[in-house]
């Protein structure tokens, strides 16, 4: 049964660019992976980071710089961006996990603001304008990611889409494996009762740090992908709004479920895009939806669904 579900989802992902506008679809995938990575920390380890934009946006700047100014191929650029997020995650994580609850969130927020400031002032980031005109380049030096195919009269950038879809599946698979591994079970134990995990002999700090680094790395991968899709790395992605948005996506979709963050990210991004014509009312509308969600289905969309079906999703 589960295998059928996955096969259907992958099939939908492969066919999506022929139905939905590919750039929009790729945006959904980037934010979906970002939210899923964040959920690994919030949903499975019980740590609320309020600075995940630093990894997401930071990696997009690094990838942009590597591809544009150093001239690396896109896969190396994404790798570089992802690794930079891992390092940053290690640095932020080792400081932040020493505190718990609201203090943990505040430390991550403060450190993320430092990254924001660097992005604003560093010479290579372009400040308020962002890092513009990032080339998509040739994958492995062979496949032109910018190539556009005309299918049924509409131009589709299929090379890039399938590259992004592959990266998304890879990232999502890593998260899935992590959650369902013995390591993931220890994380859940820490989430449920940290003292008890300590008394069972687990070095809780190390597990938390590892979860933090994995989450930061995958958030970075999502950011790196986004900079190739939009050919732009901007302050929006490192600002604290982005950190808040990912919390919203995860809660809306269902915290602590595998598919929840995807549903949440897809919902929020689609709403933002569909409602962009109403201007500043958009925050009010999304805020209202959030309030309704918290009041009526606290487990999020997928969380409630999984409760009704009586099986984890």
């Amino acid at each position: 049964m589960n295998k059928i579900l996955w096969a259907v989802l992958i099939g939908m992902g492969l066919l999506a660019p022929f139905v939905v506008y590919p750039v929009f679809m790729m945006k959904l995938l980037c934010f979906g992976l970002f939210a899923a990575a964040f959920n690994l920390l919030l949903g499975y380890t019980g740590l609320l980071s309020f600075g995940h934009a630093a990894f997401f946006g930071g990696a997009s700047y690094v990838t942009g710089y590597l591809v544009k100014s150093v001239g690396l191929t896109p896969e190396l650029g994404v790798l570089g961006g992802t690794l930079s997020a891992a390092l940053l995650g290690y640095a932020v994580g080792s400081l932040a996990i020493r505190r718990q609850g609201i203090y943990f969130a505040m430390v991550t927020l403060a450190l993320a603001q430092i990254v924001y400031f660097v992005a604003l002032k560093a010479p290579f980031t372009g400040g308020e304008d962002g890092l513009q005109g990032i080339p998509r380049g040739d994958l492995f030096g062979l496949i032109d990611l910018g190539r556009v195919y005309t299918v049924g009269g509409s131009p589709l950038g299929l090379n890039l889409y399938y590259f992004i879809f592959f990266m998304f599946c890879l990232g999502f698979w890593i998260i899935y494996r992590t959650i369902h591994s013995p390591f993931g079970h220890v994380l859940k134990a820490i989430r449920e009762n940290e003292t008890r995990a300590v008394s069972l002999g687990y070095q809780v700090e190390r597990f938390k740090l590892m979860a933090f680094v994995i989450s930061a790395t995958l958030a970075g991968m999502a950011g790196a992908m986004k900079s190739l899709v939009f050919q732009l790395a901007s302050l929006t992605d490192v600002s604290w709004h982005a950190s808040g948005e990912v919390v919203l996506m995860t809660l809306l979709g269902g915290v602590g479920t595998v598919l929840g963050p995807l549903v949440g990210a897809f919902t929020v991004v689609t709403l933002q895009s569909e409602l962009s014509s109403v201007g500043s009312w958009i925050t009010v509308i999304i805020g209202a939806i959030f309030v309704v969600c918290v009041l009526l289905f606290r487990r999020g969309v997928v969380g409630e669904l999984s409760r009704l079906l009586k099986r984890p999703l």
Binding site: Y21, V23, G127, E128, D129, F230, L232
Partner: protein
């Protein structure tokens, strides 16, 4: 035999139909113009909905149709964010079949959109943004920079201020592409004319508190405080400088980019005597007055140079389509660059190889309250600067489209 004749006629008719709809004419059966600009932020009063009003007026005046196909106008707010601007432009080109984008206030956004448009081979007619990069390093075969730029603003204003004693400058600069470009260009002319730049301070776009920046400007001791910013930032800086009494202590504020709407919001009492550079003034001659009164009837404000420029750009774009007999971007650009674009907006207008539309620029002065005869009687033209003196010479342009 008869059957053969009918078939032949049908084939001929089909062929004729095919050529009329594919060989020339309008792609996708519609000409779509997108107005992408700041509709809600610090620049929305000087551009915003008014820019869309200008474009819609031009479409209506043109008859709503070109080569028998309808013209559609759509608008969107880029919120002064380059990522939103470029994503919207990409979506418009890919999905909405938008043929031309105009407006584009905010140089950071404009540069991002121009890049996307160049890749997708679609036309941008920039009426809002100012950076000279748009017609130099970032130019494309499909970009037109229509109204003004930081070279013209810096040159005309510096030439008016420096020889009259304003020889030491300090800049208050908006910290993004536009501010940087305006500061750099103005600095060039100030030093060329024998003046000196003592320093500068950069503030974020949409700043509400200028006190710390103004104190630095005051401490510099410069005679002139150059405001390399625009819109709400400029009016805020001027109002706060007045509260600090900076103007009474011998320092003078010079706004490098000021729109009619800014003066309106400052009031003549505060702004009187200020000199600045503009590409258009509604009360210049009969043609500009006629247009502006019609614009006022719809928008309840006189047009700024951005809004009037958007009308003129759209009108000339449509004329170029008609003359070329197609909306193919290459053919339309060739027509635009060869035709004369003089109208109520532009005097001696001409679009050059680098996409720069050169036309006469004006040195304006804000009237004293006693001189003003009406709500919008705000400015007088002190000097007309001919097109060939106001803008960067083509020979200096680093645009790849300029053959050297």
């Amino acid at each position: 035999m008869k059957k053969g004749l009918v078939t032949a006629c049908a084939v001929a008719a089909l062929a004729a139909l095919a050529t009329s709809s594919f060989g020339a004419g309008i792609s996708d059966g519609v000409v779509k113009i997108g107005v992408l600009t700041d509709m809600s932020g610090v620049y929305s009063t000087l551009g915003g909905k008014g820019t869309q009003v200008g474009v819609e007026m031009a479409v209506k005046d043109f008859g709503g149709k070109v080569l028998g196909k309808p013209i559609v106008v759509i608008g969107a707010d880029h919120q002064n964010k380059a990522d939103i601007a470029s994503a919207k432009a990409r979506e418009w080109f890919d999905n909405e079949k938008v043929d031309m984008i105009t407006g584009l206030l905010n140089s950071g956004c404009a540069l991002a959109v121009q890049k996307v448009a160049g890749e997708k081979k679609r036309i941008t007619m920039n009426t809002g943004a100012a950076s000279t990069d748009l017609t130099n390093s970032a130019c494309t075969p499909y970009s037109v920079h229509y109204v003004y730029d930081t070279y013209a603003l810096g040159k005309v204003t510096a030439e008016a201020v420096v020889p009259n004693g304003g020889n030491t400058w300090f800049f208050l600069t908006a910290d993004y592409a536009f501010g940087h470009s305006l500061e750099a260009n103005t600095t060039k002319f100030v030093t060329k004319l024998g003046g000196k730049v003592l320093g500068s301070v950069r503030h974020p776009l949409a700043t509400s508190d200028f006190s710390s920046y103004l104190l630095q400007a005051q401490a510099s001791g410069a005679k002139i405080i150059g405001l390399a910013n625009a819109g709400g930032d400029t009016t805020n800086a001027i109002k706060q400088a007045r509260e600090f009494g900076i103007d009474k202590k011998g320092q003078k504020l010079v706004g490098l980019l000021i729109f009619d709407t800014d003066i309106k919001s400052l009031g003549l009492k505060v702004a009187q005597g200020m000199q600045f550079t503009s590409g258009f003034y509604w009360d210049r001659d009969k043609a500009s007055r006629d247009f502006s009164k019609r614009f006022y009837a719809i928008h309840k404000a006189m047009p700024t140079m951005d809004q009037a420029g958007a009308y003129s750009a759209t009108m000339n774009y449509l004329k170029a389509i008609k003359a070329a007999g197609t909306d193919d971007p290459d053919a339309v650009m060739a027509k635009l660059k060869s035709m004369d674009v003089s109208d109520f907006f532009a005097v001696h207008g001409k679009i050059r190889a680098d996409g720069r539309m050169v036309h006469d620029m004006y040195l304006m002065e804000v009237k004293k309250p006693a001189e003003s005869k009406g709500e919008w009687d705000l400015l007088k033209i002190v000097k007309t600067v001919p097109a060939n003196q106001a803008f960067m010479p083509l020979a200096e342009s680093t645009c790849s489209q300029v053959k050297k």
